[in-house]
């Protein structure tokens, strides 16, 4: 495997559908990190991931995975990539043991011991049909398969959605363990931002097919803030400082992207820390500017 600094490099990725366009998507996931890919339902997360994995044909743009061209070196790269989807792609007629017999010959680095270790750790029965598994068990099985062939990149599309908090936490811990190896990287798409706040190093926020924010999570969180204004104070805030403003009977909450500068500029106003959820919500309403 050649040397690379970014596990994923996407440049100018474009895909046009009837009624939706993924436009000029550009971001990268540094090697050894976990990137949260956030956005509303229908924002373009799944489309980006499908293009990234070459499941769908792109109209334009370049994708490099683990330092190699995602299309030209597709089958070679895919030995080192694992994908986890929100729906389990395994036949319900199979069981975990049979699944191993399917994947062992496919992946050269398949690790039987690791696979059985994960089955044991996740308390997954080996002989029970997948059709009889709960949603959480199915997702754990998919993750067990994904982690058992020494993949260097995990791409997960809403993998934790629909799972209860206990299972989600368990899975997030596994991801953190996986990242102990600095050659491993994760792209985790989700609209559950609390999970990403816990584990992500960087965040990319997509909305209506466009990347609105991409960078280190801590930088994004520290640069954004919610200004708690009265209606009078709100009138004094410059339009260029406002991402969007939420109007209520008690006042106006304003999202700003330059917390430091705004704190100096509007010294009398209270600033609240912004969560990823807040940032996502205020950015989604950026076109309207004001919302209730």
């Amino acid at each position: 495997m050649n040397d690379f600094t970014n596990a994923i490099e996407i440049n100018g990725l474009t895909k046009k559908y009837d009624g939706f366009t993924l436009e000029n998507v550009t971001f990268s996931v540094p090697k050894g990190s976990i990137m949260g890919f956030i956005g509303q339902n229908g924002a373009g997360k799944t489309t980006t991931i499908r293009l990234l994995l070459n499941i769908a044909e792109r109209d334009a743009g370049e994708i490099k995975l683990l330092g190699r061209d995602a299309v030209k070196d597709e089958y070679e790269i895919k030995q080192d990539i694992s994908a986890v989807f929100d729906e389990v792609p395994f036949s319900e007629k199979l069981n975990a043991t049979q699944l191993e017999k399917v994947f062992r010959p496919i992946f050269r680095n398949w690790d039987t011991e690791a696979y059985h270790g994960y089955l044991k750790r996740f308390s997954l029965p080996e002989k029970k049909k997948i059709g009889e598994f709960s949603k959480g068990m199915k997702m754990k099985l998919q993750i067990a398969v994904a982690l058992s062939h020494k993949a260097k990149l995990l791409v997960m599309d809403e993998a934790t959605t629909g799972l209860d908090p206990v299972v989600r936490n368990e899975i997030l811990d596994i991801f953190l363990e996986y990242l102990q190896d600095e050659n491993n990287s994760i792209l985790l798409s989700s609209h559950i931002t609390s999970d990403l706040e816990k584990i992500a190093d960087s965040v990319t926020f997509i909305d209506k097919g466009r990347i609105l924010l991409s960078g280190y999570k801590d930088d994004i969180l520290s640069s954004h803030a919610v200004m708690k204004c009265t209606k009078e104070e709100y009138k004094t805030v410059a339009a260029e400082d406002i991402i969007s403003a939420r109007l209520s009977d008690f006042g106006v909450d304003v999202m700003v992207a330059d917390k430091k500068g705004c704190k100096v500029k509007y010294s009398g106003i209270t600033f609240d820390t912004a969560s990823l959820d807040d940032i996502m919500m205020y950015y989604v309403h950026r076109d309207k500017k004001e919302w209730v």
Partner: protein, 255 residues
């Protein structure tokens, strides 16, 4: 590829077992009929039903019964051979196709896994079928002629090519149910065309137009009979074309 072959086998295992039981039942039924004719009362029943039956009539009827029994086994085997198709529907249901694009498996390997499995199934089925045909005929006191074996081989080879064409239609339309419906529509259309053609030929067509058509069809049928020995070559060509098409269909990405 080994993993992919195992996957199809594991998914279709239950249907294969049910199919084997069904075939076994047909073979036993055939043997029982044969034993009843040779050692029991089937011949007596036939004579009771029609006392005017001559020895030749009985022989003909028995050959008919034996053929029907063998044909039932053949149909069972063809049905079992088509079980590989059910994975297409299963894959559509579980979205395996998208997932397969994330695996280090080329479309050629995916298609080859299905074709190798179908051809192995075909070879095994053919051996089982021949053995059962010999056994059933033996129970009737009949022997299997080379002509019979040739006909059976061609039927099975033809069935294999139909299964592979169906596999391609299933891949194209993401499910074997749709493929079967499309095939049935095609079969109905062909039957309708033949029926209309027959009706036209038998109808009020002037003799000077009708006769050349009949002669042409007769000649074509004769030529077809003469080139029957090339049937395996035709089938091989169809299988190769089907394989090429399957690779293309598996290679397709979402637009």
């Amino acid at each position: 590829m080994k993993g992919l072959i195992y996957r199809i086998l594991a998914i279709t295992k239950k249907q294969l077992i049910y199919g084997a039981v069904l075939i076994g039942a047909f073979i036993i039924l055939g043997m029982l009929f044969g034993a009843s004719y040779r050692f029991g009362n089937l011949k007596i029943i036939m004579l009771i039903l029609d006392p005017d039956y001559s020895a030749e009539d009985i022989q003909k009827s028995i050959e008919g019964i034996a053929n029907a029994m063998v044909f039932m086994v053949l149909i069972g085997i063809i049905m079992v051979m088509g079980q590989g198709l059910t994975t297409v529907t299963e894959d559509y249901k579980t979205k395996w196709k998208s997932y397969a694009h994330t695996l280090p498996v080329t479309p050629r390997q995916t298609a080859a896994a299905t074709y190798i499995l179908l051809i192995i199934e075909y070879a095994v089925s053919f051996v089982i079928f021949l053995l059962s045909a010999v056994t059933i005929n033996g129970f009737f006191g009949l022997s299997l002629t080379m002509k019979n074996i040739g006909n059976y081989s061609m039927t099975m080879l033809g069935a294999l090519t139909v299964v592979l064409i169906l596999y391609n239609i299933a891949l194209r339309f993401d499910g074997e149910q749709k493929a079967i419906h499309i095939l049935l529509c095609c079969v109905y259309a062909v039957i309708m065309v033949i029926m209309v053609a027959v009706a036209v030929l038998k109808g009020k067509i002037p003799e000077h137009i009708r006769q050349p058509i009949v002669d042409m069809l007769t000649e074509a049928f004769k030529m077809f009979r003469k080139t029957m020995f090339l049937f395996p070559a035709y089938s091989a060509a169809v299988i190769a074309l089907c394989f090429h098409r399957s690779v293309k269909l598996i290679e397709r990405r979402e637009k």
